[in-house]
């Protein structure tokens, strides 16, 4: 790893200042992706600003919403009785137990890996990403691969999940990495069904209109059958081509509804 300067501010204002002062400063949370990327020299920040000293960890429920602090680990979310069980199940399937003890929700969605789990939960639940400056609806937050609506110097402080009637998550793991070959998060909300797909899209996580329409009309695994999932815009790689992923989206959607 290239030399760097480490900062661990105790106040949000100091973290923002450190991010602005560094030549190429990056936020460090659990580090389970960032440090590996730096070791491979795919990223070479001059400064790391560790936000684990900012008391951004913890889960709280209020008025039907559940707020998960940015530096809450996957293990903490997996063990939580406050988040929706589908979100807890999703967190319990990220990486492996060791990664879950360090990795954070804020880190996962800030990175927006196209095969990460959390983007599916955040988009599928219609959550709100809370930063130091504003609140961003999940629908406006995720950009393309590794791209989000976050601006320079903006720090995620929490993710707020609304209450939904039902929700479920099903994931087909890439057997070596445990990343999603395809993951589908379904949620039944007062405004209809939401279906978020991760691991499959060339532009990262996305909502599937056809599946949402079918499940809004009839919330059942069978309702998925009649939906056509096009391979257009899906990834093809050595693990599976776009047609294979398109089929897996239907299979995972069916399973996700079944466990909801």
């Amino acid at each position: 790893m290239y030399p760097l300067k480490y900062h661990k501010p105790a106040a949000l204002a100091d973290a923002i200042a450190a991010l602005g002062a560094g030549e190429e400063a990056k936020v460090l949370a659990g580090g389970q992706t960032l440090l590996a990327t730096m070791k491979q020299h795919l990223a070479a920040p001059t400064d790391l600003v560790d936000i684990r000293g900012l008391s951004l960890s913890g889960i709280s429920a209020a008025g039907g919403d559940v707020t998960v602090g940015a530096t809450t680990t996957h293990a903490e979310v997996a063990a939580s009785g406050e988040v929706h069980p589908a979100v807890a199940v999703l967190a319990a399937g990220i990486g492996d137990p060791l990664v879950r003890n360090m990795g954070t929700i804020g880190g996962s969605i800030a990175n927006n890996d196209p095969a990460a789990d959390y983007p599916a939960a955040v988009l599928g639940m219609g959550a709100t990403v809370v930063t130091n400056t504003r609140e961003i609806a999940a629908d406006d937050y995720f950009g393309g691969l590794f791209t989000t609506a976050l601006e320079e110097g903006e720090i995620i402080t929490a993710v707020r999940f609304p209450n939904v009637e039902r929700a479920g998550y099903a994931k087909f793991k890439q057997p070596a990495s445990r990343f999603c070959l395809v993951g589908v998060f379904v949620a039944k909300t007062a405004d209809g069904a939401r279906v978020a797909v991760t691991g499959a899209g060339e532009d990262g996580v996305f909502r599937h209109e056809g599946l949402e329409a079918a499940l809004s009309a009839n919330w059942s695994p069978e309702a998925v059958e009649a939906v056509t999932v096009s391979p257009d815009g899906l990834m093809s790689d050595i693990h599976g081509d776009a047609e294979y992923r398109a089929n897996l989206i239907k299979v995972m959607a069916r399973r996700a509804v079944a466990v909801s």
């Binding site: 790893m1 290239y2 030399p3 760097l4 300067k5 480490y6 661990k8 460090l28 580090g31 389970q32 440090l35 590996a36 730096m38 070791k39 491979q40 790391l48 560790d50 684990r52 293990a75 990486g95 492996d96 137990p97 060791l98 990664v99 003890n101 360090m102 990495s177 445990r178």
Partner: protein, 157 residues
Amino acid sequence: MTEVTMTVNGRKVRRDVPDETLLSEFLRESLRLTGTHVGCDTTQCGACVVHVNGAAVKSCSALAVALDGAEVTTIEGLAPNGELHPMQKAFNDNHGLQCGFCTPGMIMTSVDMVEKAKAAGKTLTEAEIRHGLEGNICRCTGYHNIVKAVAQAAQEM
């Protein structure tokens, strides 16, 4: 350079290290605790697992400076009086290793898994043990004897 203070295997240590020093490098190179192995160095294989503040983590994927003040236990800390920890003994009894490279990480992950299960009043099933070892890769044993060892140690811990 930044001064880092940790309690490692019950002993207070203080070293000046570059900020980019990984916990695995700190343990192996600064403290000469070479029982912690580095296999893949890419957060996959689990050979470098240690306990930090009571949780098993991959030491190749944490910065030493970020863990200032932490309590760390390595494989060397499991047998402070020369008597094997029940998990170590179980790996020996069940031939849970061949080359031994992954073993320190396997044992540190397994100890955390069993301690968490005990704290929750649960008995680990074989499936749970296999799921709990997802982050530790062994290329020799085929895992069967490792799983047997963890099950045995869970009875004895």
